[in-house]
Symmetry: C2
Subunit: 569 residues, 2 copies
């Protein structure tokens, strides 16, 4: 591709409204443009990457035995009514009416549509197992779309769905998909990790997420230093306390703590160890009868919202209570809340259950109790795993200790069980002629999100550094002053021709631009290999080659370049 | 692909609600399934064809120098307000609001979005010309979706847009696209024709449609028997009358015609030649002041609605007046209307203008006037080309006569001029630093519609007959009683392996089905080549080969099959 016939559209300035580096670089490198909040157009450079990601996903799906289909983006509402999601799904589900006032949705996912197809097409165990997938545009009306294509409203996804007569078959396909996902991200040249995941609102029993590792990732991954164990921190079980609850040795005393708005201030100002304090968090309850629930974790621990959400009395999705409601119900602000004398349900983490002589808010502003003891000063509360695991703690798998990494979720696989097939009556006849409800799996890849995640993981202060497998072009040709030097022009044109003939994807910067501008654009766009052609090199019969990732330069004789580029990573 | 791992989903019965043969066969061959009115899922066999069509379109666009992008399906309303189409576009434009009550549309086309991108990215003549395209899902809320994917609401389109400083550059790109479209349909193995087209509501100056020829086509194409001339009948100029208006020889007389509701009945019951009668059609006017307009064509001619719509006083899009309104304004029903004494604007076709002593409705029920003469009995009316050209008439190009063909429109290219760039202020600086409004072209291909059109053109009573280039698979393997004969199984498996290794796409029917069922399915799905493996053939060291299109069978020795299939069309 010649830049003169292309829409390069690079920008020098970092756009003010782009918060994350991938969004900034995608705008600056001319990959995407915003059409409206959460709606993006893919310019040529962006689309080339997107299509490569898509092609790798498709190839690995086909290899794993999945069969491609294509379902519509617009879905009839009646299917969503059948599964109950018409009511349950939040405003992210975009609902609208057609010209005949019939209800439709813009599909954020396709469990309903695929289950409807399968219940009509599949009636015998002989047609099973079957895995169908599509690579298709989805819409999710996010309340606050952000980070460019990382969390846009319209996005490209691969979604696969598998159908089984029994759990054994389900497990075989789940493993095949797990392996296919590993292949996908490996082939893309990304550093990634599969992790145990919570099944969340989509339901089901078994689930893994695939994360591209990046310091900027929104998710925390807890992994074992000595085994394969890795889990989203949302899911990773915190270890049980090793000791048991000590006997009470102190009286409970009310202490003035006017300047301690946080645990950190409390332990600094008063002679108490942070491990001897608790945090009491007031969250919204699941019903009108129980509007507030208290969750208590140790002062140095972090609340795990996903674990808390699993308590029946707690509202799902999880939400902290408003300060006004807390004050009205308890009579104090969030900084002074504690479990003593609390008139709402209290749930405590395992590590809080073994504490004695501890400190907590007194449910009066600017006051704490110290020397609190369970059963003496307050009733025993219900105990659960409610905190995040911490780096250095023993791994739940029993081997090694936990370390943490940040990741961006780009894939998610689930065993759904009969969650959808039951409500939609998707049954088949088994070997004995008996009707059985299908078991289902579902398997998603965020195709457009991968592009952003790859950039979060692969960039420097000059621009993007593409892994070869998903680079928009493999090689850039940078001729110096081609419009003045016939020799440079001839050799550049010949090289362009040769590389095209060899099936290598090339971006040939044939613009009348200053070398500095062309260099900067090439680094920004991030092609793996750049070949510079100038009068000085020609005299020596060599090209100047620069590797984008390592920054290393070397001179390569004319006749060796093609072989070099073919073998270069 | 093994049928046992695939979703073949063929059906014996012709679905009752499918009106056209392509829709019937697409349902029966398991290519698509209906999810709701005008919304279809593409099952594996259908999607394979769709992807081949898409790939050919993409390759030819790239070859022609167009650059691929991807715009969102959801578009902000404000762009449509800018061009005035928010008001002008009918209810086919699906409008909806997001969760923040902002207006959006589901894009039926992308002129607004692309022009918005280009006015931001292109500011100099140096960046021109540029042609961008996308292959993307569109939505058009048809009042009565029908014919399956031929006229569905959600569909796949290739839409390209070109941008130019001057008309010369516009013409060069238009020609390149014209050629690319020819290549596309030629490569697909379809019989097609490019025809001059009306520019219609999208506006612009120059336009061609590409039609796949099929007896079931909705469009009529008028072409010259002796030149390249071909035009949609909507557009083809009717020849001017050769004679001039004769002198009046009869008196105008009022005749009772109680049983003549049609022209055919009139000429049969009364001694008058059809060429001496006129049809007067009352159509809706463009304004409230002129609610009705009369269009007069000769009794044996057909009104051309597209030509009529070009009269300023006529409503666009064209609509016939309601009978009640006609009766109220004129005092008679549609069967008795004529131009004499008519109190609404009258427009007559050229051939009507040269008539004398002619018959027409009398604007009284069950009465006609005979012996009517212009200027004597009624004022001279405005004259225009308002009728369809007829087979056998001289071609507008001056060479040969006109013949007619039926076609299905699958492509349409336009020169848009400044229709969109003007209202959206898409300007660039030219060589002299002066601001110029961009010229635009737009070029559409109905990707999903091509699949249906190809079937309308290529089928018989047993099923589809795919051209090789867009067949879902190239070869079908039909083993006879493989589950009983080890020899058949071994040879079939080996052949399947060999063909896969040779990069030939194969559908291997490994089901435990009766041969008759397997044969019928293979003919229905329409693969170009079928190889039958049975014990009898094996004894002779040959495969039985059957060509789907010709129906010819032949025996091919084991070791010659691969070469035969590679070279077979």
């Amino acid at each position: 591709m010649r830049v003169s016939k292309y829409l390069l559209s690079t920008q020098k300035e970092t756009p003010a409204d782009a918060e994350v580096v991938s969004h900034q670089l995608m705008l600056r490198a001319g990959m995407v443009r915003r059409n409206a909040s959460g709606l993006y157009s893919w310019l040529p450079t962006g689309l080339r990457v997107l299509r490569k990601v898509e092609a790798i996903v498709r190839e690995e799906m086909n290899k794993a035995g999945a069969v491609e289909i294509l379902m519509p983006m617009v879905q009839p509402a009646d299917l969503w009514v059948e599964t109950g999601r018409w009511e349950k799904f939040g405003p992210e589900l975009l609902r609208f009416q057609d010209r005949h006032n019939r209800d439709f949705v813009l599909g954020p996912t396709h469990e309903e549509v695929i289950t409807d197809i399968i219940r009509k097409e599949i009636n015998s165990y002989k047609q099973l197992p079957l895995t169908l997938y599509q690579i298709q545009t989805k819409f999710r009306d996010e309340v606050r779309p952000r980070f460019g294509v990382m969390r846009s409203r319209e996005f490209l996804m691969k979604d696969a769905y598998s159908f089984h007569l029994d759990q054994e078959s389900m497990d075989v396909t789940y493993d095949a998909m797990f392996q296919a996902y590993n292949n996908i991200f490996e082939r893309m040249g990304l550093s990634f990790r599969p992790v145990l995941a919570d099944t969340g609102s989509i339901g089901g029993s078994m689930s893994h997420e695939f994360h591209v590792l990046a310091d900027s990732g929104e998710d925390l991954i807890a992994y074992s230093t000595e085994s394969d164990y890795a889990a989203n921190i949302e899911k990773a079980e915190a270890p049980m306390p090793t000791g048991t609850r000590g006997a009470a040795t102190q009286k409970m005393t009310l202490v003035d703590t006017p300047n301690a708005k946080t645990i950190a201030e409390l332990v600094e100002q008063h002679d108490i160890a942070i491990e001897n304090t608790v945090k009491t968090l007031i969250v919204k309850g699941a019903t009108e009868e129980v509007p507030l629930v208290a969750i208590v974790v140790r002062g140095d621990h972090e609340l795990n919202e996903v674990k808390a959400e699993k308590i029946e009395a707690v509202l799902a999705p999880f939400e902290f209570a408003d300060e006004a409601d807390i004050r009205k119900a308890i009579g104090a602000g969030p900084g002074s809340i504690g479990p003593v004398g609390l008139n709402i349900p209290v749930y405590i983490d395992h590590s809080v259950n073994v504490m004695s002589d501890f400190g907590a808010g007194a449910n009066q502003d600017d006051k704490h109790y110290f020397g609190i003891n369970w059963e003496r000063d307050l009733p025993q509360a219900e105990v659960a795993d409610l905190r995040n695991i911490i780096e250095g703690e023993p791994s739940p798998c029993g081997q090694g200790t936990i370390a943490l990494l940040r990741g961006i979720e780009v894939g998610h696989i689930f065993q759904l069980g009969t969650n959808y097939s039951e409500s939609m009556h998707a049954n088949v006849l088994d070997q004995n002629g008996k009707s059985k409800t299908l078991l289902m799996g579902c398997y998603g890849v965020g195709v457009s999100r991968i592009v952003a995640a790859a950039i979060e993981q692969n960039h420097d202060d000059r621009g993007i550094i593409w892994p070869k497998a998903i680079a928009p072009f493999t090689v850039g040709i940078l001729p110096m002053n081609m419009h003045k030097s016939h020799r440079v022009k001839d050799i550049a044109e010949q090289l362009y021709q040769d590389l095209n003939d060899a099936g290598i994807e090339v971006l040939f910067d044939d613009r009348k631009e200053r070398p500095g501008v062309m260099f900067a654009d090439m680094e920004l766009v991030g092609l793996p290999h750049v070949v510079v052609i100038g009068d000085r090199n020609i005299d020596n019969g060599v090209f100047e080659y620069k590797n984008r990732r390592t920054g290393e330069k070397q001179e390569i004789p004319f006749d060796q370049l093609l072989d070099f580029l073919k073998s270069a990573e």
